[in-house]
């Protein structure tokens, strides 16, 4: 079975631009989370979605937004890019049921803002 996939793998943007990152969860997984990993740091939570509804949001500005589609794929949008938005953006998916569900991470999208 395919794992979590993310696109694009890499992209370069300039300050002030907008970017859309995409994530396809593992088949059957209905929940998706987004994390930002700045170089030298651990991942930081941005958003969580389940059944197309936002279930959690981290401490990120309103320039960051996301949505989940009926097929459970997800997009992360970042407006008015800043240099500090340069990071690896990770998507994780899991099947929300029961007490604990392992989150499976995709390979990430490396965003460079110049």
């Amino acid at each position: 079975d395919a794992g979590v996939t993310q696109s694009p793998t890499h992209l370069i943007k300039t300050r002030g631009q907008h970017v859309t990152l995409r994530c396809s969860p593992i088949s059957g997984h209905k929940s998706v989370s987004w994390y930002q990993q700045v170089l030298g740091q651990g991942p930081q939570f941005i958003f969580q979605y389940y059944e197309k509804e936002e279930r959690g949001r981290g401490n990120f500005p309103d320039r960051f937004s996301a949505r989940q589609f009926p097929n459970y794929s997800s997009e992360l949008n970042v407006n008015a890019l800043l240099l500090g938005d340069s990071a690896l953006y990770l998507c994780a998916s899991w099947w929300l049921a029961g007490i604990y569900n392992e989150q499976f991470f995709g390979p990430g999208t490396r965003l460079t803002v110049l």
Partner: protein
């Protein structure tokens, strides 16, 4: 507030030597605890997890970790390191009994393996 501390930014060990990566957490309730590994240019792979029961948990690739509630620690160990273990290791904490709240990660420990 939830937090995870990995005191060692970078560790270098010889191939075949034993390894221990430290992790301390701060959490107000019974936590889930995780260790993830990240190879260069890759996403995160779960090595092992703990949320109840035996405090010594076994994971993939020969790794194990021990949960010590009194010390708020969850250290990762491997008896004999292989060159392919060189990577970044992240400890993370999550809430018990909820699939809705995110993981909180430490800043990671970079492991280098020398011949």
């Amino acid at each position: 507030a939830q937090s995870v501390t990995q005191p060692d930014i970078h560790i270098t060990v010889s191939e075949g030597a034993s390894l221990e990566l430290r992790c301390n957490y701060s959490y107000g309730a019974t936590p889930y605890l995780f260790w993830y590994v990240q190879s260069p240019g890759q996403g995160l792979q779960l090595l092992l997890k703990y949320f109840s029961g035996d405090t010594l948990v076994q994971g993939i690739k020969g790794f194990e970790a021990e949960f010590k509630r009194s010390q708020s620690s969850f250290n990762l160990r491997k008896p004999s390191v292989h060159w392919s273990d060189a990577a970044e290791y992240f400890c993370a904490v999550g809430p018990f009994n909820s699939g809705n709240t995110p993981l909180v990660f430490g800043k990671g420990t970079r492991l280098s393996v020398i011949a």
